[in-house]
Structures are given as C-alpha cells and as structure tokens.
C-alpha cells in the first residue's frame, strides 16, 4: 500500500472515532455540540506531553489523553448540561474556542500558536484499524443496552424520560463524557500520526465539521456516521482542486440534506443485511413519492 493511501485511511479512521463521539451525543441524545474539537485538542496535547515530556509508552499516553478529556467533560457538563438546548450549544462553542486560546496562551508547555513539535510517530494503520473497530463495537454495545435506550428516550421526549424514572442529568453527562473520550482518543491518535500539532487544527471549523458529518450521515445512525465520515474525508482528497472550498461544500451539503432528506442519509436506521435487501423497494417508494409530489 502506498504511503498516501495509508495516510488517507488513517485520517478517515481518526475522523470516524471523533464523529462517533458526536454521533452518540447529537444523534442519540440530541445534545448539539460545537466544541468537540476542543476535546480532541485536549487529547492531542495531553497525550503528546505524556509521550515527549514524561516518556510514557504510547498506550498510556493514549489513555491519558482520553482520561483528560473525560475529566474536563465532567466538570464542564456539571456547569452546562442543565441548560436548555440552545444555551448548551453556545457553551460548547465557547468551550472549544477557550480551549484553543488557552493552549496558545500556555506557551511554555504547549508551544503556543507555533505548535507542538517533536511528537514521535506511533499511530500506525494497524493501531487505527483496531481503534476504529473498538470504537464502533463499544458504541454499538452501549447504544443497544439500557444506557443507549435511556439516551434515546432523552432525545425523543425528555419529560417522559423523567417520568419513567430516568435520571436525565446523569445520562446526559454519560453521553457527553463518552463523546469527549472519543474525541480525546481521536486527538491522541492524530497527534502521534502527524507528529506536529497546532491549536488552529482544533478550531471551530473542525468542531462544525464533526457535527455536520453526523447530521449528513443521519441522526441516530452509527453506520450513517461512518459512511458520511468516509465520504466527506475522501472527497477533498479525490477532488484536490476544491479542497480549499471544503467548508463551503459542507455548508451546501448540509442545506441540501436538511431540505431534501431531513433525516440525513440514514436517519434512525442502521445499515444491515435486511436494509440492503429492502433497498430497491425503498428507492422505488422514494421515486413514487417524488412523482406524486410533482
């Protein structure tokens, strides 16, 4: 395999892990976040510092990055998860930007805006593939248990979730922390693949990209998130000339999806054998609907 192809696959894998975190938070709990790149940054910097300054083995650095993101999500969640939807979203936005600025400000430890260099390359294709498999399995098992059902209950109808005895505050926190751990995981892999990180890599654009990917893939669908991440990571690589217009492309895609297919590619459905079998019927039905509308 050429180094280039390997690099693209690694990037897709890292993005999948970060997007899965947002998928759990947004797609399954209906908490919109525009700050998950902040948790990626925390995972990236914490793990990089553990590796370079404390000579920790990669696995420990990786876990350290995830743990750091988890701890910060616990503190932040305590403060913000009680807020109503829109306000929560704004605090995540603020958090993401604060994290970036704080990393710039802590120049002696983080290298400031110039970036943090000299991270050894530890992330291999194999490690990414194992990570992705693990991330998907854990997410799937979590969602297909009472924990996931409780999150879906909060997404669907919070007052009713309360009324059947679900401690909604606790389960929102669970969702938020899991999404932070996934982001930290992705950030740590990212740092140890590119060997050089800057705060600007984890800006609002990155956070938006993660959330938009989930929306395009369809809320409430892990497979939708994985497919959308793959396509959206590949597209700029394939169409090099438009890579600069990436955010423009994302914006247009999101507007189109929301107007034409409000549930996203796979909203509330998972890709499975029976789904594929039913595909022709669904396509036919879709076209029939179109015709009726016309």
């Amino acid at each position: 395999m050429s180094g280039y192809v390997e690099g693209v696959i690694i990037l897709i894998g890292i993005n999948i892990i970060a997007v899965l975190g947002v998928s759990i938070l947004t797609g399954f709990t209906r908490l919109f976040s525009f700050g998950n790149a902040g948790f990626m940054a925390i995972g990236a910097y914490a793990s990089a510092i553990l590796t370079t300054k404390f000579n920790m083995p990669f696995l420990i650095s990786l876990l350290g990055g995830m743990l750091m993101a988890a701890l910060i999500s616990l503190a932040l969640g305590k403060l913000t998860l009680g807020l109503k939807g829109d306000y929560f979203l704004i605090t995540t936005l603020g958090f993401g930007e604060c994290t970036r600025v704080l990393i710039e400000f802590l120049d002696p430890i983080t290298g400031g805006a110039r970036g943090y260099a000299g991270i050894p390359q530890k992330t291999t294709l194999l490690i990414v593939l194992i990570s992705v498999a693990l991330a998907i399995t854990v997410a799937r098992n979590l969602l297909n248990s009472k924990y996931g059902r409780n999150l879906k209950a909060i997404r669907e109808q919070e007052i009713a979730a309360d009324a059947v005895g679900i401690d909604t505050a606790r389960f929102k926190q669970l969702s938020f922390t899991v999404s932070a751990i996934y982001a930290g995981w992705a950030g740590a892999l990212f740092a140890h693949y590119y060997m050089f990180i800057t705060p600007a890599m984890f800006n609002l654009d990155k956070s938006s990209e993660l959330t938009i990917t989930v929306v395009i893939g369809g809320l409430g669908s892990l497979t939708g998130s994985v497919i959308a991440t793959t396509v959206l990571t590949l597209l700029p690589e394939v169409l090099r000339s438009v890579a600069n217009y990436r955010m423009l492309f994302y914006g247009i895609a999101v507007v189109l999806i929301i107007t034409l297919r409000p549930n996203g590619l796979m909203g509330y459905k998972e890709l499975s054998a029976s789904w594929i079998k039913n595909l022709p019927i669904q396509v036919r039905r879709m076209f029939r609907c179109r015709k009726e509308v016309a």
């Binding site: 854990v138 098992n141 979590l142 009472k146 059902r149 005895g165």
Partner: protein
Amino acid sequence: MKEILKIANLTKKFGGVCAIDNFSVTLEEGTVHGLIGPNGAGKTTIFNTITGIYKPTGGTIEFMGKDITNKKPYQVAQQGIGRTFQNIRLFSQLSVLENVFIAGHMDADYDLFAAILRLNKFGKKEKYLRENCIELLKILGLSDKLNEKAGSLPYGHQRKLEIARALALRPKLLLLDEPAAGMNRDESKELVEFINELKEKFKLTILMVEHHMDVVMSICRRITVLNFGKTIAEGTAKEIQTNKLVREAYLGGEDAAC
C-alpha cells in the same frame, strides 16, 4: 385500608395565578380516585406537582409514608408513581417495544461494563426484560405492533401504549390524565373499564382525570371536584351528583353546553 398517597394543603402559584389552592386528598390503596373540573381548573397542574415537574408553592405530598414533596421527577417515578400525559408524550421515533423496554430500565440491573463487554448477565437480564415487555404489551392488546413506530400508531393505541409504558416501571400508583380524551362516550367507557381490570391485575391505585362524568361516576370510589384551583367538593359519586356547588360550577355548565 392503607393510605398510599396523602396530599395536604398543596398550593401552586404561577406568578399571580393560583393554579392549585390548598388542595388536600388521601388515596386508599387499591382504589380509583377521580379528579374532575372544568378546563383550567388545575387538574394537570396537580399531576405535574405530584410528579415533581413543578415545585409546589406550599403543602406536602406523602407517598407510602415517605415525603416526596420536593423530589425530582425521576425520583418520584422510581418510588413507584407512573403517569400518562394529557398531550401524549411517547418516544415517537422508537418502536412500540422500545417504548416499553425503556421504561423497564430499572429491571435491567447490569452495569456499564457488563453492557459494553456483553457479559452473560447482560444477555440474561435483557432477555428476561424483553419477555416481560412483550407480555405487558400482550395484555394491553398491542402485541401485534411490537416493531411499529410509536408515533405512527392510531391515536387510541398511542394512549394504550402510554399506559403500557407507565406500567413497565411496576408502579404502585398510576396517574392517568384524561386517558379517554378524544374518545366518544362508549369508547371511553370501554377504556375505563379496561383500566379497572388493569388495576386489579397489577394491584394499582389510580388517580384519574376524566371528562366524561358518567364514566367517572361508575368507576371511582371517590371523586374530587376542582374549580379555579379550589376544591369545591369531595365524596362518593352519589354525594358529588347531589352536591349543589358542583351542579352550579360544573355539571350545570356542561348540561347547558350540551
């Protein structure tokens, strides 16, 4: 007879509006208590205050000997109070089975690691819970709709599913807010008789808001009549029917409207 719910001097104000004014009631175990009154009388507000959605301005609520006055909604539910909503609140994107499955979460006593690692314990508990849920849906007459989306069920079935969901937490007390809303007299009579059967089967105590007077009269051991947040009468069906205040405030009004 044992008292299961004891509400004393409950008051709830929204700004200047006194939605509940000094409301008191005692429910005996195994009975059906009716709560009636014209629109805006404060019936739903009483439910929302019992279940912790609203903090009362004054008064106390005692359930099975425990003070639950300022408990959070999920804590009230965990104590054993199930409820339905006047404006249906199902998990509408989810299947009929999932709606009930969710409500059974307290019976799924495995931890996060058992769930993620798919330990034996997880599988056993889930299987047991699933069978219970299907059994419950069978009783409610929804077992042929397990995989249908809750939001796309016909209205009457949605009402029944809400009752099934409330029953899945194995409550001692069930609060039903207009379970027969939108149904005609015969349909609502049928539903309420069915609710009475459920009461026997699940050993429930029921507090019910219902608009069809004759239906309420036939099933409720005792009835409380509210008007503008105030209790204007409490007693047996007979006592209520012959109460002058009630006739003026409520029955009279309805008769005139019909």
